[in-house]
């Protein structure tokens, strides 16, 4: 797993997911709430879901990479 993350280019590209997750969560939250506190709470939950989903996909790909 660490060899997958350790290569410089891969690490750089993974970092680019962070601003995307933040922006998508904020905009998604803003389409469901009108006040800033509501938006932030929804954005936090959305970000948690997105990161969890990405982690699951990462885990699946990791297992496949071990098998193949």
């Amino acid at each position: 797993m660490w060899s997958l993350l350790a290569t410089g280019e891969t690490v750089n590209q993974v970092w680019y997911a962070i601003p995307l997750v933040i922006v998508v969560s904020l905009v998604y939250g803003a389409t469901r709430h009108e006040t800033i506190p509501g938006i932030l709470v929804n954005a936090y939950h959305a970000a948690t879901w997105i990161v969890s989903f990405m982690a699951v996909i990462f885990g699946i790909l990791l297992v496949i990479s071990w098998w193949v």
Partner: protein
């Protein structure tokens, strides 16, 4: 002007959507502008910063080449339909496309201009003239990352446009269960 109230369990909403059609148009033309027109300033600024920030960040990642309009046989740039969601910020690509198609020199040093030649083959001689291949070679994965960022910005603005047109899509669990709201989606009377 429609102006009604919708109560939720934790947010009291009283949203004046003004003219929803115009708001949606402004929201497309400039992300967040529709909300600013409706005097929903916090959300307007949030959409403006988030969506345009993502768009220009992606545009910068790809050296200004990731947003272009082209529908030639070897280069059908379907991604532009997603990028067009950010409105005015993506429109220069149409002007640049027209200039290149007419054989003229693109403006602004080729920003948002389509590649002049795309071979679509593995022929080495043609690949040397292939401008799209050269962009991929120059920017590596950042060309695709930039394309992705600008596409997501355009798609996110579609959510913002809907929000400007119809108000926030309140989740069912957040609605007061005692009595249904008398009106449709926030601010507009049900028909």
């Amino acid at each position: 002007m429609p102006s009604t109230a919708q109560t939720t369990t934790h947010e009291d909403l009283n949203i004046d959507l003004r003219n929803p059609g115009w708001a949606a148009f402004w929201a497309w033309l400039l992300p967040g502008a529709g909300h600013l027109y409706q005097r929903r300033h916090a959300k307007g600024i949030l959409f403006l910063v988030c969506i345009l920030g993502t768009y220009f960040f992606g545009l910068n990642l790809g050296g200004g080449h990731v947003v272009y309009a082209s529908w030639r046989p070897n280069d059908k740039r379907w991604q532009y339909f997603c990028q067009l969601g950010v409105g005015a910020a993506a429109l220069p690509a149409l002007v640049q496309s027209r200039l290149v198609r007419n054989g003229e020199e693109p403006l602004f040093g080729g920003l948002m201009a389509p590649p002049r030649f795309v071979s679509g083959t593995d022929n080495q001689f043609e690949l040397q003239r292939d401008e799209l291949a050269r962009w991929h070679l120059d920017y590596h994965a950042y060309f695709d990352l930039g394309t992705l960022f600008t596409m997501i910005a355009g798609l996110l603005n579609i959510l913002a446009i809907y929000d400007a047109y119809a108000g926030p899509m309140i989740m069912p669990l957040e609605r007061s269960s005692d009595k249904p709201p008398p009106n449709g989606p926030a601010g507009r009377p049900a028909t």
